[in-house]
Symmetry: C2
């Protein structure tokens, strides 16, 4: 069955999302209109995911929908912003109502969980590509930048990076052992990563800089250090590795995935030494584990240490266009 484009948009995108008082005009006009409260600044991020590039073509549509929004929520988390509204540009090879229904369920579930209203959409025909733009709010002047890290600040990461990359490997069948509890856990870390929105909000006024870990901890920490014109001393023995990851991959490979694997959507952030107890309280309040993995240094570059020895880490993160 084929529905017209407009009926499609109306049916799947106009209903069932969070209703917000601050949406003056939602889906269905030439543009949406929302109200930004005085004293707040608007925070804007956009991320595209492409079938076969950012996720396997065979990924279930509810996971595609979940991930399309999750990667954007993660960007706002890194700014310490509260997500409020989003738009969805969906390019589809064909109309498949079942696919759309499942996709929308995954997207909607996460949107509702964060109180995010879908205020605009565009549906076009073409190869499966999804672009979400997320709009959020921070109290004026309080967004956490990448550029605020200073020498002596401690470096933290949330959760257990590497899990998502290991999960993707399992999904893509690089490991036939699919039924263990640990494997299920790892696969879910790829399929339904947890954007650290609550942690990001709690880090305002505490973290000196933050970035979300989408391309790999090593690559993203390097970007944060470059933006801050600083360097980092990272203690590989402090990397938080999940029991599932170590069980599935062994310590050496687990460490490589934690540093170089993408898709974790954890936060990597820096905290001045005099705010260590504050950051512990913030993490506890947002029910998110955080681990201190190193310290910011004035000398640029990333230096990784294993049991006190400087080691070379062979990982450059994920770069769509790297030759």
């Amino acid at each position: 069955m084929s529905l017209g484009e407009f009926a499609l948009i109306e049916r799947f995108f106009a209903e069932g999302f969070a209703r917000r008082e601050d949406v003056a005009i939602g889906v269905g006009d030439d543009a949406a209109v929302v109200r930004v409260p005085a004293g707040s600044e608007l925070v804007v991020a956009v991320d595209t995911i492409v079938s076969g590039v950012h996720f396997p073509e065979e990924l279930a549509p509810e996971h595609v929908g979940y991930r399309a929004l999750a990667v954007n929520l993660s960007d706002l988390a890194a700014m310490g912003a509260k997500p409020c509204w989003c738009t969805l540009a969906l390019t589809l090879p064909r109309v498949d109502e079942g696919w759309l229904q499942d996709f929308t369920r995954g997207f909607r579930e996460l949107a509702i969980g964060h109180g995010v209203a879908l205020i605009g959409g565009d549906t076009t025909r073409g190869p499966l590509t999804l672009t979400v733009q997320i709009l959020g709010l921070v109290p004026s002047g309080s967004a956490i930048r990448r550029s605020g890290a200073g020498a002596g600040d401690f470096i933290f990461v949330s959760g257990t990076p590497g899990d998502a990359a290991a999960g993707l490997g399992l999904i893509q069948g690089k490991n036939p052992k699919m039924q263990s509890e640990h494997d299920r856990y790892l696969r879910n870390r790829f399929l339904t990563p947890t954007p650290r929105v609550e942690l990001g909000l709690a880090l305002r006024g505490i973290a000196s800089a933050a970035i979300d870990v989408s391309d790999g901890l090593h690559a993203d920490l390097a970007k944060l250090m470059t933006a801050s014109s600083t360097g980092a001393h990272v203690d590989l023995n402090q990397l938080p590795l999940s029991p599932a990851l170590v069980d599935s991959q062994g310590v050496a490979r687990a460490r490589g995935l934690a540093l170089g694997g993408g898709d974790d959507y954890e936060l990597c952030f820096t905290v001045p030494a005099d705010r260590l107890s504050a950051v512990r309280r913030a993490a506890a309040a947002s029910e998110c584990s955080i681990t201190r993995i190193g310290v910011v240094e004035a000398e640029t570059g990333l230096r990784c240490f294993d049991a006190g020895h400087l080691v070379t880490v062979d990982t450059t993160g994920y770069d769509h266009f790297a030759s």
Copy 2:
């Protein structure tokens, strides 16, 4: 030569765009931060264009860049909003610096002309797809909706619809006569349509409803009428046809293109009878021709008249997914 994704983004998207005082954080962090002034509401639109679907694959990159932004500016024009900021999600099959340079030139030229700052971007690998999200401002409560038309209001359209569709036909080689002045004009109406931003701003407080004509005048006017729970009496003899269109296509086909052809990015809007002189002044001030083509009626549906006779118009507009 292959550049990394991050270098790419930095090189093409961080430089040469409008600088705005209200951008606290621009391209280069996890998200952008902008300031919305008190008394204003935020207006948000998103549009995707796909190679081979919304434009011919062989279209010159500067025209792709121009059109990607123009279609979004047109959405804000229809709301009476002032465009301020945009994000660009660019999915590219490969890195081609020459292509990117030309694309960026077309995009940037239009952005600078409207004082729009590019505040965020995402570059991914995949089939050529461009999603622009545009953010603008209106004084609170003053956005022009689709739903405000009332029986007795007059219906107007800006410019001369049908030109872009004829121009696309010429570009696609359906007409071998490529060198006349008229043909060049028509092709340019497709390649570089004029988003009616100034007209839209001037229509605030005057137009009762508005929509931008992207899918064809007949289809878009029908959407406006549906949103307003009204109908329309359209006088086909009043359709504003450009001399180039009539010369190129003859009157009958010109009229069909004016009603059914897409890609015009003109505004179609309704005006209460007591504001006719106000709308003439508004159009003159924004240096945009407007033409009265009909009247809003209480009875739903579109009725087209030719020399006083009700006629059937065979056009349903452009629908990406219609079977």
